[in-house]
């Protein structure tokens, strides 16, 4: 199970390239969405590997709050155009 978590983590860290490359803000912010879902996948796998069921709660929190930043970003975009 640790191996699976490791491989997901590697793909996750690879996606940091998009954050460095950009080019627009939307592209950069996209990476945070990827990190909150893939991060919760890593946590779910770790919850079995480390036998800590509480990690499922952490994963739920990541997913629930991951959207806040993305929505805040697009909202800012909307107000600028008025």
């Amino acid at each position: 199970m640790y191996l699976i978590a490791l491989l997901i983590l590697i793909t996750l860290l690879a996606s940091l390239g998009r954050m460095v490359l950009g080019p627009t803000r939307a592209d950069k912010l996209m990476v945070t969405q990827l990190f909150s879902t893939c991060g919760s996948a890593v946590l779910l796998v770790l919850s079995r590997a480390m036998e800590m069921d509480a990690l499922v709660d952490v994963a739920i929190l990541l997913v629930l709050l991951g959207a806040v930043a993305m929505v805040a970003f697009t909202l800012a975009d909307r107000q600028d155009r008025r």
């Binding site: 793909t11 996209m30 919760s40 709660d57 997913v63 991951g66 970003f73």
Partner: protein, 102 residues
């Protein structure tokens, strides 16, 4: 735990890994915002979905499975909404979708 369950579990995890890898590659390599968002949602929906299925089988605990499915539904809703909003803001900012040059 019977061996076939273990096999199913790892099979699901490997399918999930495939989607994570494909999604990340797409996010890195696709040419414009819209196609990159498309790749991103594959990670969110299918990758996380297969992980949730594998973990639920492995845990063999009804309440935990309910929580996991709730998590997946939340992820579906949040990724769909967030990606829709980002794509719309990109479109309104006047970014044309990429087209293959003839």
């Amino acid at each position: 735990m019977p061996p076939w369950i273990v096999i199913v579990k790892y099979l699901l995890l490997i399918i999930a890994l495939f989607f994570f890898t494909a999604g990340t590659l797409g996010v890195l390599r696709f040419p414009d915002l819209y196609s990159r968002l498309h790749a991103l949602t594959k990670c969110d929906n299918l990758g996380l979905g297969f992980v949730v299925a594998a973990i639920a089988i492995d845990a063999a605990d009804g309440w935990l499975a309910v929580k996991l499915i709730l998590l997946w539904f939340l992820a579906l809703a949040s990724s769909a909404t967030a990606c829709y909003l980002v794509a719309r803001s990109g479109l309104r900012a006047g970014r044309d979708p990429w087209e293959k040059k003839a």
